[in-house]
């Protein structure tokens, strides 16, 4: 039972001042084992804050990040799953499933986490699953101003992943979940 927090596109301090208070009250240290961040934090203070939540922090570089040494893509293995991380502004057209699927095949991962569109999505395709945690602060994106703050928490338990989607809609936190299993023979998620 491994809890992995996926979030990104915070754009602090340029486009947003801070995470919504309701999100901050839920994110306490000690519960989460890993954090994967799609990028665009943008400042060091956010990096330090995320480090206090969990020491195991993985970040991919977004185009506005002040820290230039984050990698463009990253892969890691948690339990039975291989996860891939990339900000997403490199993949054109932005948010296009086929192109992201191509990236996923290149990285050879079961779950690809990308951002940049600031919209939560969860796609499945033959190669695996693509998750976009959206923007945790609700910052405006290159595409739209209408953004709901959201992030994702994955509970990896053996061959099964439960993805909990946290969204702030009209001031209230709404949580949904998505279940999927990895079949041990093929990469595809069901």
């Amino acid at each position: 039972m491994v809890l992995v927090l996926a979030l990104g596109d915070l754009h602090i301090p340029h486009r947003a001042a801070d995470l919504p208070t309701k999100f901050k009250s839920m994110l306490v240290p000690g519960k989460i084992q890993h954090i994967i961040c799609t990028g665009n934090l943008c400042s060091k203070e956010v990096h330090d804050y995320l480090k206090t939540l969990c020491p195991d922090l993985h970040i991919a570089r977004g185009e506005y990040d002040e820290e230039t040494r984050y990698p463009e893509t990253k892969t890691l293995t948690i339990g039975q799953f291989k996860l891939g991380l990339c900000h997403g502004h490199q993949v054109i057209p932005w948010g296009d499933l086929d192109s992201l699927a191509m990236l996923q095949r290149q990285l050879d991962v079961d779950i690809l986490v990308t951002g940049h569109t600031h919209q939560f999505t969860a796609y499945k395709h033959e190669g695996g699953v693509v998750i976009n945690p959206g923007s945790a602060t609700g910052a405006y994106s290159s595409i739209t101003y209408d953004v709901n703050p959201s992030f994702v928490l994955m509970d990896i338990d053996g061959l099964r992943v439960v993805v909990y989607v946290y969204e702030l809609i009209d001031g209230e936190v709404k949580v949904d979940k998505i279940d999927f299993k990895k079949t041990s023979t093929s990469h595809s998620a069901h």
Binding site: M1, T121, A122, K124
Partner: protein, 456 residues
């Protein structure tokens, strides 16, 4: 007692300062071993430092006896068994079993083989100590704690019932939240449909009932409870790892030690979850350890396999008398630990006013400094493991309950070292009491028993 000058700290005449009257049957054990002890104690004390360090030798593990349905074994066989185990005794009982030991063992085995156990008789005999050689301590303790019913015919049904109950507890309470939510809200739809694996598209989202998500702060949330419990579980884990680090049974890298630690942990976690009022308090692991050790060393294979379940219920039973010691809010109340310590103080005043006055008034050694650990941990930390098993024989067999006997033994402990205490000041007395010197346990228990007969 004779008025002597301040004695040499290593003076062993202390131990034989109270020769027993010959008509008292209860110290037959003491009298037969007195000579052996008096001559060997000087060597014991001078070698006490190396021998206590030699604690990596485990206390005597009972040699499996012949099945209980047979006649009690002849003294010949027991003698051989005892000689093997005798070499491992650190102090107190000498290598050869006394005639009294053998007869007591025979009596106990005879009683255990009856159809209906006479509990009063059993208590009376067990009070004098259960010999190590016969491997009956496990069964006797289970009877004394009320885990096994007195009617032998009911044993197997009772045991199966309790053991399956424990298994049920384990399954229910030791699950992590992922599994719990999976079982509660299982959706069969995603399990089927392997054929759809080639399709693409958005993954469907489903609602979460009752705020059951991992970051939930709700009181009823399974996840929230899990994270709150994880603090206690960490504490239990740390304490279990520190239990008896000198014994191979409990500590070390062997598979055996690790599985024992896991069993102790499970018991303590389940106890904490079932008793939200007390939860887990540091020290409970020390009370649990002797129980588990004895039950795991039961000569009967089946009992060994279920030692964890048996230990759990006996632990609950044992702790039920002492719960109040562990509850912080009750510290200052009539049933709390403070009042128990006051009772010990009163007992000492009653039996040895001079010592009481010297300790509490002159040198101001507050009994809380030493008696707290003696009482809450049932003397497991003051003596070596084998000796504390002997003390527990007496504690558990008292029909009045262990509390009274415990106080008498503590009082006896103080009285036995009165000379040193009377000669010492605050620092040396405190040091002495917090590192109680090794002593002849039978003598200690004899003195404790005498206190019962002397008081009103």
């Amino acid at each position: 007692m004779m008025k002597k000058r301040v004695p040499d700290w290593l003076n062993s005449s202390l131990w034989s300062s109270n020769p027993p009257p010959s008509d008292d049957h209860q110290n037959l054990r003491y009298s037969t071993t007195t000579n052996a002890t008096a001559t060997t104690t000087s060597s014991t004390i001078t070698t006490s430092t190396p021998s206590t360090e030699d604690r990596s030798v485990d206390p005597p593990v009972p040699v499996p006896p012949p099945p209980m349905i047979e006649d009690p074994p002849e003294p010949q066989r027991i003698q051989d068994a005892r000689v093997d185990n005798g070499a491992k005794d650190h102090n107190g009982t000498s290598g050869l079993p006394s005639a009294d030991d053998i007869s007591r063992q025979a009596q106990l085995m005879a009683m255990l083989s009856r159809k209906v156990i006479d509990i009063l008789e059993l208590r009376r005999i067990a009070c004098q100590g259960i010999p190590d050689g016969a491997g009956i301590r496990s069964a006797v303790w289970k009877l004394l704690l009320g885990y096994l019913p007195l009617d032998r015919g009911l044993w197997s049904s009772e045991l199966t019932k309790k053991r399956s109950q424990y298994k049920h507890f384990k399954e229910e309470l030791l699950m992590n939240p992922s599994e719990i939510t999976r079982r509660m809200y299982s959706s069969p739809s995603y399990d089927t449909d392997e054929s759809k694996s080639e399709s693409r598209g958005l993954l469907s989202r489903s609602e979460i009932p009752h705020e059951e998500h991992p970051l939930s702060l709700g009181k009823t949330s399974v996840w929230n409870q899990f994270f709150q419990d994880s603090e206690i579980i960490e504490q239990i884990d740390r304490d279990v790892k520190r239990t008896h680090p000198d014994m191979h049974f409990f500590s070390g890298d062997s598979q055996f030690a690790k599985s024992n630690q896991e069993a102790l942990k499970s018991i303590l976690i389940i106890f904490a979850k079932l008793n939200p009022g007390v939860r887990y308090v540091q020290g409970m692991n020390e009370i649990l350890a002797p129980l588990f050790y004895v039950f795991k060393n039961d000569p009967d294979e089946e009992n060994v396999a279920f030692a964890e379940a048996d230990t759990f219920f006996c632990f609950v039973e044992l702790l039920s008398g002492f719960r109040d010691n562990f509850c912080q809010q009750l510290d200052n109340s009539v049933v709390g630990i403070r009042s128990t310590i006051t009772r010990l103080s009163q007992l000492l005043k009653e039996h040895d006013e001079e010592l009481w006055r010297h300790l509490e008034v002159t040198t101001k050694v507050n009994p809380q400094f030493y008696a707290f650990r003696w009482i809450t941990l049932l003397l497991t930390q003051e003596f070596n493991f084998a000796d504390s098993l002997h003390i527990w024989d007496t504690l558990l067999s008292d029909p009045e309950g262990p509390q009274e006997t415990l106080l008498r033994i503590c009082c006896a402990m103080l009285i036995l070292i009165r000379r040193r205490l009377l000669a010492g000041d605050f620092t040396s007395n405190l040091k002495l009491l917090q590192n109680y010197p090794s002593t002849n346990i039978s003598h200690l228990l004899y003195v404790a028993n005498k206190l019962r007969l002397q008081s009103v």
